[in-house]
Structures are given as structure tokens and as C-alpha cells.
Amino acid sequence: MAVLLGLLLMAAGLQLAGYDAAAAIGALWRGAFGSWYALTSATLVRAVPLIIIGLGIALAFRAGVLNIGAEGQFYAGAIAATWVGLHVAGRPAAVALPAVLAAAFLAGAAWVVVPVWLQLRYGVLEVISTLLLNFVAESLVSLMVQGPLQESQHIYPQSDPIAAAARLPVLPGTRLHAGLLLALLAAVGLWYVFGRTLWGFRLRAVGAGPRAAEISGRVDARRMMALALLGSGAVAGLAGGVEVTGVSYALFQNLSPGYGFTGIAVALLARLHPLGIVATGFLFGALEAGAGGMQREAGVPAVAVYVVEAIVILVVLLADAATRRQAAEAAA
């Protein structure tokens, strides 16, 4: 519903701006689903980082911690994955790959250590500290690709390709990599943690009512929120590791087209439900893949797709607010 409305409004806007709206929508569709290659190598490849980051966001948001720094944590993971990936040449994939992904995971968590410490020690809002660290991470990437991690010719601002053993297996004939399985596994895992474990329930309770969680549930809310933020950073870092080992095989600037921010939308649109995030991640992956097709075929700027994304989110938020108001009125 929301998606249809978003597409309609975008089409109307394009028509008014003098584009052929029907052709643009057609190109969007073909770019996302037009062929087996488009589905696997464009849509799904973009969906993977969005799903993983969305899961990380859900972990934090469900605990009431607003992690806006997934972009930076993604880059921290990508840097660590590249660095380790360059040093595992000659090792078997069974060692190299887990080592690279673990490095990305830990680097993402390390990237939120400072926000966690600032929050616990001085009460600095994590919204601000995690957001600001995004800029630090982006600068760090550009420092790395022009310094310690620059390719051996020292010409281009990017790293050498990582060792073959450190790359994720790819589906033959496509660019789709095993990161998709990892994302699906993570989604099911998080769903289990939230829904079936006491720890996951307590995390949700802290997010829904921190005072009650402490007084009635005897949960240490501050500790829980710190853990959630660390976990969230680790998952976003893992997404960066998956991107390097599955898609780019190297580190460069603008590795992420804003996955860390779109991931927040993906998570919110799924109402922070892990399995829902798989669906919304897929949807946003398709929109972003289709945007490329639209630009190539119909000459419509890819940013038009952000209009659709924004409208989808607004419609869903409005619907949520309306439902809540109805519930409140029913209760009163």
C-alpha cells in the first residue's frame, strides 16, 4: 500500500518535471526484477547490507538506544576486514573468512565503545555521539586508503584486493554472495533472541519501560542498554565486513551509498521486527537497484527513489500514529 502510494507520487512528480513516468517506472522494475541477474546481482546484493544493518539497528532501538552511527560502524568493520583480509593470504578459507568477519564484528563494537563510555560516565546522548563518529569513520577510511592500506602502486585511493581465501562464496553467474545466508541466519537468530530468550525479553522491556524493568524486573537497565549498543555496533561492523568480503574485495571511499542510514529506515519500516527487516531490506534493496536502472534507461536521477523511500516511511509512521490514537481512544 505505502509502496504503491510512494511510487504513484514519484511518478506524478516525474511527469510534472517533464520525464516519461511510465518509462521510468518500467525501468525501475526492470532494474530490480527484470532478469535473474538483476534480482540476484542488483537487488539482493544491495539488500544484504541493509538487512544486516537493519538487524543491528533493531537490537539497539528495541532496547531504547538510538544508534544513528551504523554508517560509521559499517566503515569500521570494512577497514578491519580489509586489513585482516590482506594478511591472511595462503591460509585456508575456513580460517581466513571467519577471522576477517570476526575482525569486522569486533571493530564495529569497538567503534561504539566511546559512545557507550560517554553515555555511562557523563550521560552524553548516544544519538549525538554515534552520529558524529560517522564523520570520523569516513575520514578514517580516506586516511587509510591514502596511507597504510593504499594499494601497492600508491596511485589510487583504495586498498589492494583482499586474499582470495577471505572472500565469500558467490553464486555462479551472478554477484550474489553467501552474505545473504548470513543475513537470513542473523535475522532468525535475532528473532529467536527477542522472542524466546529471557535476555531478549529483558532487552525489550528496558526499551519499553526502563523504570519498570529495573524496579519490577530487577534488570540493570544501563548495563542492558550498553550491551545493546555494543551488539548493534558489532552487527553493523559485520555488515561492513560482509560488503568487503562479498562485493568490493577492497576498501575505498564511498563504499557505502548510505547503507547505515537507509538501514535505520529499513528497521523502522519493519517495526523493528527481525523477520520483517528481511522483507523491508529486500524492498529497499529493490528500490535502490531499480534506481540504477531508471537512471541508465530513462535518464531519471536515481535520487528520485529516495522520494519513494521517504513516502513509504511517512505513510507507515502515519498509519502507526493513527493506530495508536485509536487504541488510546478505545482505552479512554
Partner: protein, 490 residues
């Protein structure tokens, strides 16, 4: 200063949800007088003054200002009639300057130079020097309170309503404030002083009105009153029993096990600064219900939380048998989480040995079945275990919290204001559960801001005053209890 004024409230009635806050209260304020308004928490003092200030529309009754009947639709209307109010909590904008805050309250235009002079004039006239350029957030507590008074007086105010203005002040600062109020009434203004400090009322006021459960139980000159007579009026003494003598089933108490033992316990304030409970020593035996009588803010809250294991003591010994059930005062922020389902709220209080917890996993089927049986057993009216806690009425929410806490057969039960805001039937149901828990051998500790509730439930009563806990002797009258609530027995 200006024309004499008077305020009269007649037959004021006000109901909030299921709580009848005012039951036909009468109150008159003569020009030039300082009138103390006393009563226990929840007696309706603040509500009555909010009616006079146009913040609360009464369900019935008449407000007369200067002999003219008025419908006070808003504080703005009240201010125009010369009524100003100092609220219980600070109402200044911390980032604004003193002058800007006064302008905001008085509706003056913000023209820096003229405004500064205007504020200085008002402040000096009442002997309340204040720097107009200081940021409100950076003032000391005493100066913040001074700013509140200047704000209330800024607009030709002739009737000043003060809601516990000295609660936050040190003794010297409180005297200073009362001196200012006296100066105001000496020039023809009239003031109402809501306070819990009886000494203060006796020292400063001309007349006194005592509210009890929404009705005026005493109104007259302060001359001839004592803190004992005022305390008696506050808690009521007509025809009701004091602490009841030990009931027959309590006679074996000395043989029962001691389940709660505190020795010289010191507990910090919940806010983190200062000491709330001073060297409390007490013990509670199995089967005993101990009630605490206290005026709000005298350490009883922290004492209960320390016993319940929710607030770590600073020093002293604390021996409490487990499991402990805790029914916190605020059910919607501390007792349960409104956005979660009833089942989830039951799981919120989980312990590792609960049947629905298996090695860190939650078996929701078991938890749901348990919740369903809790709903039936405790008479919680709800659509079912999957309903959101927010969809329940206050009474049913409280029954759910009580059910969750008591169903585990706790050895110690701690309850804070367990029936606040509940209607009679719901309150009775909660009382019955607490008595049942005691009958089954639990040690029960309750605090209620309603002394009647404490007396109705407790086998033994303790009074808390300024962090000091004292034993109320068996058979004590309500007046004696009131005295202990004020003096702490020392």
C-alpha cells in the same frame, strides 16, 4: 497597597477519574491575612488552590473574588483578578534570564532595558533582590524560589497562593520567605500557605484551615492551636480507633520467625543526594503486617525500597528473607509496562526458578497459561493474557501487579500506597490479598499516605519523620500518631 480583596470558595467538588479529590470544600480568605492550609497528602489542598487559580474547573461550587462570583476559566483570568500562585515545583525556564522569566509569567513585552527596570522595581518593592540578568537555571534553590514569588507578584497581585513554598528551603531561607509573605499581607495583600510544617503554620499564620479527604474539618484562628491539635485534625480523631489491639491470631507472634531485620540502616535518597533513612532498626515477623505512617518525603519510600532490595543501603545491617514481593507505588511506570501484554508483564517479574523459564529461555505457552490463571484468581478484568496492560483500568492493573507479586508465595511483601487511585472495591480486593499473604506466613510492610489505610491493615504501626522511624505504641490514638508523624518521637 491597593484595594482590599477577598477570596471565597464555596461547596467546591472535584472528581478525577475514580478519585473524589474535593467533597464540597469551603474556604474564605480575608484581606490582610496569612491563611495556612493544612492536610495530609491527597487531602485536596493543591486541588483546592488550583481551583482558586483557574487551573482546575470544579464539578460544583462557587468561586467569589472581591464578593463577585467568577468563573475562572484559566490562570490568565485569575491573574487579571489579582491572583498569583507559587507552585510546588519550579516553573521557570532555566535557559531564560530572571527578567525574561518574569516577562513570560506576567505577559510583559520583552524590551531588555525597560524590562530589567520593571523586574527590579517589583523585586525591590517586596524586599526580594534578584539580578534580572541571571539565568534562572543557575540560581540557587532559594533564589529560584524567590524568582517564583516575584513572578507571582509581578502583576498587581493581591491574593498570593503558595503551595509548599518552604519544602525545598533551609530553615533560615524559609523564615526569610515567610517574612516576605508577612510584609505582603501587612500592606493589604492576602496569602494562602500550603505547608506540611505545623511549626511554620503556628508561627506565621493568622488563620488555619485543615482539609481531610476533600472536606474541611477545621477552619479558624491559629491562636489557641498546638501542633498536636492540628495533627489530630489532619488525621482525624472522631469515633475511629487508633492502632488496634493485637488480634487473637496475633498472640503467638513472639514465637514466629523474624523475616525482616534491619539494624541501624542508613539509606540514601532515591534522587542520589543526602540521606533519607537514618539508623532505622526494626524487625518484622512472619504473619505480621507492619504499616508506616508518614507525611510524604520523610524517608518511608526509601525505607521500603531498601527492604525490597531495590535501593542499596549506605550502611547498617539488612536481613530480609526471600523471595520478596514488591508492589511499587506507580503502577504504570514502575509496576508494569503499559505497551506490553499482560503475559509479558507477568514474565517481567520472573525469577530463575519460575516454571516458564528454562535455561534462559521463556516458554511463552506456560507463561500465558499462568497469566490466564492469575487473571481468574485475582479477578483482573481483561480481554485475556494477550491484551496490552495499557488497556486495563487502574484497579485491574494494580490487581495484576499484586497478583504477579503475591502468587509466588513470597515470605516478605513490601507495598507502597497499594491502593492509590483505586475505587473502594478494588482497594478492598488488594487489602484482602495482603491480609491473605500475612495469614499464610509472610512478613508484610506497607506504607500508605492515607492513615486510615495503614490503621485498617496494620498489626503494628511505625511513624517516620525526617528519616527517623519510631514505634507507635499499641492502642495509640490518632492524635498521638499524628504527633509522632510530625516530631518523630524525639
Amino acid at each position: 497597597m491597593s484595594t482590599p480583596s477577598s477570596l471565597a470558595l464555596r461547596g467546591i467538588r472535584k472528581r478525577f477519574g475514580s478519585v473524589q479529590a474535593l467533597r464540597g470544600a469551603d474556604f474564605t480568605l480575608a484581606p490582610g491575612e496569612l491563611h495556612a492550609l493544612l492536610g495530609e497528602n491527597g487531602a485536596g489542598k493543591t486541588t483546592l488552590m488550583h481551583v482558586a487559580y483557574g487551573m482546575v474547573r470544579p464539578d460544583a461550587g462557587e468561586v467569589t473574588v472581591d464578593g463577585v462570583s467568577r468563573a475562572l476559566a484559566s490562570p490568565r483570568v485569575a491573574r487579571r483578578l489579582g491572583i498569583g500562585m507559587v507552585h510546588q515545583h519550579f516553573t521557570s525556564v532555566p535557559a531564560f534570564t530572571v527578567a525574561e522569566n518574569v516577562a513570560l509569567a506576567a505577559g510583559w513585552p520583552v524590551a531588555p532595558g525597560a524590562l530589567r527596570e520593571r523586574v527590579r522595581t517589583v523585586a525591590d518593592r517586596f524586599g526580594l533582590p534578584l539580578d534580572p540578568d541571571a539565568r534562572a537555571g543557575q540560581l540557587s534553590v532559594a533564589l529560584k524560589q524567590r524568582l517564583e514569588i516575584v513572578k507571582a507578584l509581578a502583576t498587581e497581585t493581591r491574593i498570593l497562593l503558595l503551595d509548599e513554598p518552604t519544602a525545598v528551603l533551609a530553615p533560615g531561607e524559609a523564615e526569610e520567605l515567610l517574612r516576605v509573605v508577612r510584609a505582603f499581607t501587612a500592606t493589604g495583600g492576602a496569602a494562602v500557605l500550603i505547608t506540611h510544617k505545623l511549626d511554620e503554620a503556628l508561627a506565621a499564620a493568622d488563620r488555619v484551615t485543615v482539609l481531610r479527604q476533600g472536606s474541611v474539618v477545621f477552619s479558624g484562628p491559629i491562636a489557641g492551636q498546638t501542633s498536636a491539635s492540628l495533627a489530630a485534625a489532619m488525621v482525624g480523631d472522631e469515633g475511629r480507633d487508633g492502632v488496634r489491639p493485637p488480634a487473637a491470631h496475633r498472640e503467638h507472634a513472639a514465637r514466629d520467625a523474624v523475616l525482616v531485620r534491619l539494624e541501624e540502616l542508613e539509606v540514601p535518597r532515591d534522587s542520589g543526594y543526602g540521606i533519607a533513612v537514618r539508623r532505622a532498626t526494626l524487625s518484622i515477623r512472619a504473619g505480621e503486617i507492619v504499616g508506616i505512617a508518614a507525611v510524604e518525603g520523610n524517608g518511608q519510600r526509601e525505607l521500603l525500597r531498601a527492604v525490597a532490595g531495590r535501593l542499596p543501603p549506605l550502611r547498617g545491617r539488612r536481613e530480609v528473607a526471600g523471595p520478596v514481593a514488591f508492589i511499587p507505588e506507580d503502577r504504570t511506570t514502575e509496576g508494569l509496562i503499559p505497551s506490553l501484554t499482560l503475559t509479558e508483564n507477568v514474565v517481567l517479574g520472573s525469577r530463575p526458578d519460575d516454571p516458564w523459564i528454562r535455561r534462559g529461555r521463556v516458554d511463552w505457552k506456560v507463561a500465558r497459561a499462568r497469566t490466564a490463571s492469575l487473571l481468574a484468581e485475582f479477578g483482573v478484568l481483561a480481554a485475556g493474557p494477550d491484551a496490552r496492560a495499557a488497556s486495563l483500568s487502574g484497579g485491574n492493573q494494580q490487581k495484576l501487579v499484586a497478583g504477579r507479586e503475591l502468587a509466588r508465595r513470597p515470605r516478605v511483601v513490601v507495598a507502597e500506597n497499594p491502593t492509590r487511585g483505586l475505587d473502594l472495591r478494588a482497594a478492598e480486593a488488594i487489602h484482602a490479598r495482603l491480609r491473605e499473604a500475612a495469614a499464610e506466613g509472610a512478613a508484610v510492610l506497607i506504607y500508605s499516605s492515607d492513615l486510615d489505610e495503614v490503621l485498617a491493615l496494620a498489626d503494628r504501626v511505625l511513624a517516620a519523620a525526617r528519616g527517623l522511624v519510631s514505634e507507635v505504641p499499641p492502642g495509640a490514638t490518632r492524635a498521638q500518631i499524628g504527633e509522632l508523624m510530625v516530631t518523630g518521637g524525639r
